[in-house]
């Protein structure tokens, strides 16, 4: 403990020195730039450094900079025990207090859920199916994310036991009662579909609804109109699918989203593709043929193939 206190003292002194140097440097810089040293903000420093030391380096991290020591020097954990040498945390001597506290709490949560379920059974009630947590809509945090959250390094075994315990909790019939606790350790996957807006339905003169979309893959660009209440008729650049894509692989590419969304033979597609080769054209169509139909199909986002392929050319 004494060694720790010494180290902490040394670190504080070091930080003090750094900060005072930073303050002096800031005033010098303000004088060089002819500004008021008392009201010289971090933004002004950045501008001054960029002006005085122009750099053509691509990576912004590699360019010269002058930041406050708190932003640059890695933080150290604050003291975990008081002046008497008594640790603050109950689980301090487990060496990973945050992790074991979490596991301890999780077990209590699971036990409380079991008790609650028993009570409900005795009362003759059933779990509310509407409130059930949709497992497919989110994933468990990865090991680095959990480590970041707990500020502790975990071994693979510890992470596995964490996943096992929390899976038992989420699979419990009334896990929705502890949703806020569970969801702290899950990443919601719906971000993509929430961000990308689903295009509005447009109606033609005959009152037939259609949607429009456009997109790209590599150097190809596709402009698609999807008509609902169709019969599976596909027109690409004024010709049918076979004329446009003699290779069956390309036709399968175009078909896969329709097949997956079960709209094969039920929508008409009118598409224009330009640029690129045949496979990238098919790829552009695949993504765009899909996006307007996605409004009807909730589980699309979990398909790795159907998540947008951002392999778009730098020049495209």
């Amino acid at each position: 403990m004494r060694a720790y206190l010494e180290r902490a003292k040394a670190h504080d002194a070091f930080m003090q020195g750094e900060i005072s140097e930073y303050e002096i440097g800031k005033r010098h810089l303000a004088n060089i730039m002819g500004a008021d040293p008392d009201n010289f903000s971090q933004e002004d420093i950045d501008k001054a450094v960029e002006y005085l030391l122009p750099s053509g380096l691509f990576d912004k991290e590699a360019r010269p900079k002058m930041k406050h020591p708190h932003d640059v020097i890695p933080k150290r954990k604050a003291a975990e025990f008081d002046v008497d040498g008594r640790p603050f945390h109950t689980y301090f001597y487990t060496a990973k207090p945050q992790f074991f506290k979490l596991m301890h709490d999780a077990v209590f949560v699971l036990e409380s859920l079991k008790k609650e379920e028993d009570k409900m059974l005795r009362r003759g009630e059933e779990a509310n199916a509407d409130k059930k947590i949709i497992i497919g809509a989110s994933v468990w945090l990865t090991k680095p994310a959990v480590e970041e959250k707990l500020q502790e390094k975990l071994s693979d075994e510890e992470y596995d036991s964490f996943i096992r315990l929390f899976t038992r909790i989420i699979e419990h019939p009334i896990s929705y009662a502890e949703e806020t606790f569970i969801m702290q350790y899950r990443r919601v996957l719906s971000a993509e579909s929430m961000i990308s807006s689903i295009p509005e339905l447009i109606y033609d003169e005959a009152g037939r609804p259609y949607q429009e979309a456009e997109g790209a893959r590599k150097t190809s660009k596709a402009y698609v109109k999807i008509w609902s209440q169709g019969s599976g008729h596909v027109t690409v650049n004024g010709t049918d699918l076979l004329d446009c894509f003699p290779e069956i692989l390309d036709r399968e590419q175009v078909m896969s989203p329709l097949h997956f969304t079960n709209t094969l033979g039920r929508v008409d597609i009118e598409a224009r593709v330009e640029g690129g080769g045949h496979s990238s054209r098919a790829g552009a169509l695949r993504e765009e043929a899909l996006s307007p139909t996605s409004s009807e199909i909730p589980p699309l986002r979990v398909s790795p193939r159907i998540i947008k392929n951002n392999n778009v050319s730098f020049f495209g």
């Binding site: 468990w140 996957l189 599976g232 069956i248 078909m255 097949h259 997956f260 079960n262 790795p304 193939r305």
Partner: protein, 417 residues
């Protein structure tokens, strides 16, 4: 769960295949991230094809009417059985090469009765054969069934005792002929004795019993050499046999036979059908190099056989008909310059079109819904489609989408099921 679903989505829905693999990799770490609850999916109204198979035993895809002369529009989209003898006589060559192994696999040979063939049959039934021979031109995109339609028409005419002269694939004459000699009869044209002899032998096998029973005679004397002479009034079969024995004279014999057949048809002794597949190849440059320069090629019009066949295609005779197809494959494609049209005017070019005009163009379209379903019914009946998913409505929709109902593509797609 996946064991039920995977075969259904096996080929086209690669997406699903990837899902299954990723979920098995990440199952311990990312519960639910890569998995799809298919049961949920189906509950949401997405059809489970396994549960909705196409009704068996109800589909009618065949007709018992094996005589093509009785075929009418009622039989459209139905398969009729072609006797092995008919295959040997009229369809031994000329159909798509993949269809012959298919016939063996099916243990029978069946052709579909299709609208273009019926239309031409109706025209042939109604035609006045005292007027110049009508030329029918089948056109359509690759794999749409032009050659099969031609074969059906040959069967139709053959079963009514027409003499049939068939060129299974005209471009062969100017691409792969091994023997070429300058003509001794007429300067400036090229003889292909082996090809001419082949044409004569095909004429014999196609019309063998018929030519003997008809007992056609020659209209004039033909002097081949000092010793070899065909007298006026000799049998036409003797003339053909002479051409087969003295292959040197086969191209000239071919011209004589064509002249005789035209005269006999015009005088009403016999009806003649001229069937040429890929007729636009007759107005193409050949692959045969001229002696004077490596960069100059002969034109197909300089070939004796082509000149004789063009005599046949003229409408200066009566009592017959000619049915030709124009095909994208018969035209020489330039590198990186795909053909943009399958229309007769485009493929024949100005000269070919002017020569053949007037003709009756008959479009051979891809399968209609009825024909496509009939085709898959037949494939199912023959156990060509093995996979349970191929027997479902969803599987069919998929096959139709991938093939665009083009007959050849539909066959290629169905091979994978």
């Amino acid at each position: 769960m996946f064991s039920i679903v995977r075969p259904v989505l096996r080929r086209s829905a690669c997406a699903c295949r990837l899902i299954t693999s990723s979920s098995s990799n990440n199952s311990s770490t990312e519960q639910g991230s890569g998995t799809i609850n298919f049961n949920e999916l189906f509950q949401k109204g997405i059809e489970n094809p396994i549960r909705n198979p196409v009704k068996k035993g109800l589909a009618v895809c065949r007709t018992n009417q094996t005589d093509p002369s009785q075929h009418t529009i009622r039989h459209e989209g139905l398969y009729y059985r072609v006797a092995p003898e008919a295959i040997q006589r009229w369809m031994k060559e000329g159909l798509h090469p993949d269809i012959y192994p298919l016939f063996r696999a099916f243990n029978e040979s069946c052709l579909m009765v299709r609208r273009p063939a019926i239309e031409i049959m109706e025209c042939m039934r109604a035609a006045d054969y005292s007027l110049p021979a009508i030329r029918y031109m089948l056109y359509g995109r690759a794999g749409s069934g032009k050659s099969s339609t031609l074969a059906h028409l040959m069967h139709f005419c053959g079963s009514q005792d027409w003499v049939i002269t068939h060129v299974p694939w005209a471009p062969v004459l100017h691409r792969y002929s091994k023997e070429r000699v300058p003509s001794t009869f007429k300067e400036g044209r090229i003889d292909q004795p082996a090809d001419a002899a082949k044409w004569l032998s095909r004429l014999m096998t196609t019309n063998d019993p018929l030519l003997k029973t008809l007992n056609l005679k020659t209209h004039r004397k033909y002097i081949w050499s000092r010793r070899e002479v065909t007298e006026e009034g000799d049998a036409l079969t003797e003339l053909i046999d002479f051409g087969l024995q003295r292959v040197k004279y086969a191209p000239d014999v071919m011209g004589a036979v064509i002249r005789e057949l035209k005269l006999h048809a015009s005088s009403g002794n016999v009806k003649v059908l001229v069937a040429i597949d890929g007729v636009n190849g007759m107005w193409e440059q050949t692959r045969y190099i001229r002696e004077e320069s490596r960069h100059k090629f002969f034109h197909a019009q300089e070939l004796t056989i082509v000149q004789h066949l063009m005599e046949f295609l003229k409408n200066d005779w009566t009592g017959g008909a000619s049915v030709c197809t124009v095909d994208e494959g018969a035209t020489i494609k330039e590198m990186n310059d795909p053909l943009t049209s399958y229309m007769p005017r485009f493929l024949l070019g100005q000269k070919g079109f002017d020569f053949l005009d007037p003709f009756i163009p008959v479009h051979v379209p891809d399968y209609s819904d009825k024909e496509a379903n009939s085709c898959l019914d037949y494939y199912t009946d023959r156990k060509w489609i093995q996979h349970p998913a191929g027997l479902t409505e969803a599987g069919r929709t998929e096959m139709f989408f991938l093939s665009c109902k083009n007959p050849l593509e539909l066959y290629k797609v169905s091979r994978r099921w």
